[in-house]
């Protein structure tokens, strides 16, 4: 894996001088982990063309495949971090230099400078000056991170009293809103709920068609108008239709928008106002979809979308790459918004509840 070159080069330089043996050893370990994860990926992966089949697989059965996939995805993404840690702390004293390097490692997961500093400082309080082993320091680090994340790990729970429970899905362009809706629809359909989808992205070419495909896959009616139509009007109609049918859930897709475009944000506010004309309590959930590759701009995204449309929860997508989504830790510290789910692949079953400790452990390269 040439991607290893990043840490190899970065940390290898230092460790190679003092501990050439450790470097070789951990490199070997890295390969083993890589092979294992590739195996797991092979087991779990379904060719994309076969996706509609996968959609028909019951949840429990798909669970195995998913776990393998999550592991594959996350362990790929974290193996380098894990290796970096291994290089760092093989028979080492936790001194200032080590802490600084640890902080740097956290920064490379997009944790952000301030959060990385706080986490390492807390670690230093209890363990400064001790001789530490990689496993021990990873455990401690995962614990710190999990402690921050635990309060925000809350699933999306539709209120059965609402017919429908309205979920508005927002985010910047390309973050994965439509795909996330498809996956969420699949999950709630599997639970036996009736779901309506509203193709509110009336701006992007073929976005409506994209959601329609998901509607077919998951057996959900899709309320749509032509590209260029008024999204608020469409949302109003979709809500009326879902109410008439007495559906359990209504997911409203929206066009991607950058948070600094005030006119587009105002449009979103209008959509919410229009919904409230029929149901004052709607939308019951407003999900902000974030791409795992996003860096510190995630702060601005959450801040603005929260201000404008009262975001109630986050979904982190594309966590199957090397991006680790560390910014989520900083967001949890700052905003405390629930993280409902993470997307770990392109299959319908690749959306899973967010679990603090497994996310934290994967982030630091455990498991």
């Amino acid at each position: 894996m040439s991607g290893k070159g990043l840490f190899g080069r970065l940390w290898g330089k230092k460790t190679a001088e003092t501990e050439p043996a450790a470097e070789v050893e951990s490199e070997a370990l890295g390969h083993a982990a890589e092979e294992a994860s590739e195996l797991a990926a092979a087991e779990g992966a379904v060719p994309p063309a076969a996706e509609p089949e996968a959609a028909g697989v019951p949840a429990e059965v798909a669970g195995n495949g998913w776990f393998a996939r999550l592991k594959a995805g996350l362990s790929k993404s974290s193996s380098r971090l894990g290796q970096g840690l291994a290089d760092l702390f093989t028979k080492r004293k936790l001194d200032d230099e080590a802490l600084e390097e640890l902080e740097d490692l956290l920064i490379t997961t997009d944790l952000g400078v301030a959060t990385a500093r706080r986490v390492t400082e807390r670690l230093a309080k209890t363990r400064f000056g001790q001789d530490v082993e990689p496993a021990e320091i990873k455990e401690a680090l995962a614990e710190e991170v999990a402690g921050i994340l635990a309060p925000v790990a809350r699933p999306l729970v539709p209120d059965p009293a609402r017919k429908p429970h309205v979920v508005l899905v927002v985010g910047v362009n390309g973050s994965g809103k439509t795909t996330t809706i498809g996956k969420l629809a699949k999950r709630f359909r599997d639970e036996g709920r009736s779901v309506t989808l509203a193709a509110g992205d009336t701006f992007r070419a073929a976005a409506v068609e994209q959601l329609k495909v998901w509607g077919e896959r998951t057996g959900c009616p899709v309320v749509a108008r032509d590209t260029g139509a008024d999204a608020a009007g469409l949302a109003f109609d979709a809500l009326a239709e879902a109410r008439r049918r007495g559906d359990d859930l209504l997911f409203i897709d929206t066009a991607g928008r950058l948070q600094n475009k005030s006119d587009l944000m105002a449009e979103l506010q209008k959509l919410v106002r229009v919904l409230k004309k029929q149901d004052e309590t709607a939308p019951h959930d407003v999900l902000l979809v974030l791409d795992a590759t996003v860096g510190q701009n995630a702060h601005s995204q959450v801040e603005v979308f929260k201000d404008m449309v009262a975001v109630t929860g986050l979904v982190l997508t594309k966590l199957d790459g090397t991006a680790r989504g560390g910014v989520l830790v900083a967001l949890a510290e700052r905003f405390g918004l629930p993280v409902h789910a993470i997307g770990v692949g392109e299959q319908a079953a690749d959306l899973r509840p967010f679990e603090a400790s497994s996310f934290a452990r994967s982030l630091v390269g455990l498991e």
């Binding site: 991607g3 970065l10 994209q210 495909v213 998901w214 005030s262 996003v294 702060h299 090397t322 991006a323």
Partner: protein, 456 residues
């Protein structure tokens, strides 16, 4: 939540009173702030380290130019180095090959490949090229339709969709059609893929081997974080990248990824995506991105512009008066004239750091150069004595001045109030001495709340 680099540096350098060459200690402390600023701008850590080391080499021992603070000096050095690293502008598409020239678009899911393909088509069409768009994205639902619609909007050719055809076959067919129908350029839009997805990376490599593209453009989102290095390296090693397109530059991300990807691949950044419309594609300007990454607006060009236009003796005369705690309406008039010389007021204010977030407020404020003209007219309607001693101006004088300047007494009152605020502030600045004025730079020359005042 992000402080601009200039803010960070001013806190570091406020402690410094001495002038002369930048010492290693000064630079070291400043560079810690530079490091944090770059990391907050999402420049990848290994790239940051390398960059900071280079700046250090350049900065230590550097003479601080008279009339600039050490902080500004460091900003300038950092800025210049950033621009140098980001590369030169004007790297256009390389189409030097036998037509049809293949352009391959690659990148992660959701990075903006399809939209960028459409934008490139529009751009090439303007250069009188015959362009064919072909989507190889057989995975994302309706992706092929999306490109087809964009082709129609751009009024360029679109490869007919054959359901079930695989990417390599589509690519071959696109090139065949391109040859047969006399297209100049064939843009191949691939499916988004993760750089660690071996299977899909192999697939795009096969496409590359089949069509031998002249350009392989990596399309990446300006919001991307630390992973930019891995992404860029993997795509460059596995597929071979000839240029980078940075999208969503119209957002408020700092765009540090540009620096990371450029540093890792050595490939030029060719275009910036600046909006959802098909004409929102611009050639790359290193200056612009460097300023964003540092979060300092265009303070560097502001400083340069100021040095060019504000005459030195005028500035010195003003500085002396302020030092004595004197500031009258003549001085205010002189300032209005300087502001006018420096160009559009809105332009100047938007160049000031930290103003980006105030964008909306500024829009409301409706800043207008005409307002400056009106303010000038009011002062010009006063007698010399009045200008030197504004306390003289009472009711009847106000009426005369209002009539003389074609305004109302309220306008005169507003100007006098504004003058009072400025005078108060100048007194404070005066207490700091001339160095204080220089340190506050041009920001200190603008009255507080000027935007609001002028907006009436």
């Amino acid at each position: 939540m992000f402080e601009s680099l200039s803010q960070r540096l001013s806190t570091v350098f406020d402690k410094l009173t001495g002038r002369g060459a930048l010492s290693e200690a000064d630079v070291g402390e400043a560079l810690r702030e530079v490091r944090v600023a770059l990391l907050e701008a999402d420049v990848a850590l290994p790239v940051v380290k390398d960059f900071v080391a280079r700046v250090k080499d350049r900065a230590v021992g550097q003479e601080v130019v008279k009339s600039v603070t050490p902080g500004q000096m460091v900003v300038k050095i950092v800025h210049d180095e950033l621009v140098a690293t980001l590369g030169t502008e004007g790297a256009d598409l390389n189409l030097n090959a036998v037509p049809p020239v293949a352009v391959l678009m690659v990148g992660l899911q959701g990075s903006g490949k399809t939209t960028t393909s459409g934008k490139l088509a529009v751009r090439l069409k303007k250069d009188r090229k015959k362009v064919l768009l072909a989507s190889l994205d057989v995975y994302r639902p309706a992706a092929q339709q999306q490109l087809e619609i964009l082709a129609r909007q751009a009024e360029v050719g679109s490869l007919p969709i054959v359901m079930g055809e695989m990417p390599v076959a589509i690519a071959r067919r696109a090139m065949d059609v391109g040859r047969r129908e006399g297209y100049d350029v064939v843009i191949l839009d691939t499916a988004g893929r993760l750089h660690i997805d071996q299977e899909l990376m192999a697939e795009v490599a096969q496409v590359r081997d089949a069509v031998k593209p002249t350009e392989t453009l990596l399309v990446a989102d300006a919001m991307i974080g630390q992973d930019a290095v891995t992404l860029a390296r993997e795509f460059n090693e596995k597929v071979g990248v000839t240029g980078i397109v940075l999208t969503r530059v119209d957002g408020d991300a700092r765009g540090g990824a540009a620096l990371s990807m450029r540093a890792v691949t050595g490939r030029p950044i060719k275009f910036l995506g600046l909006g959802e419309k098909l004409d929102a594609l611009e050639p790359f300007h290193p200056d612009r991105i460097a300023g964003r990454i540092l979060g300092m607006g265009d303070i560097v060009s502001l400083v340069e512009k100021a040095m060019e236009t504000v005459e030195q003796d005028e500035a010195e005369r003003l500085a002396k008066r302020i030092e004595k705690g004197k500031f009258d309406l003549e001085d205010m008039l002189a300032q209005f004239r300087q502001v006018e010389k420096m160009g559009d007021l809105k332009g100047i204010i938007s160049m000031l750091p930290g103003i980006g977030r105030l964008g909306d407020q500024l829009k409301d404020a409706k800043l207008d150069n005409k307002v400056v003209g009106r303010q000038k007219a009011i002062i010009l309607s006063m007698t010399k004595a009045e200008r030197k001693n504004p306390d003289l101006i009472k009711a009847s004088r106000k009426r005369r001045i209002a009539a003389g300047s074609g305004g109302t007494v309220q306008d005169v009152n507003r100007l006098l109030k504004q003058y009072q605020q400025m005078a108060d502030m100048m007194k404070k600045v005066g207490k700091l001495g001339q160095k204080g004025l220089m340190r506050h730079g041009l920001g200190g020359l603008l009255p507080p709340g000027m935007g609001k005042k002028f907006g009436r």
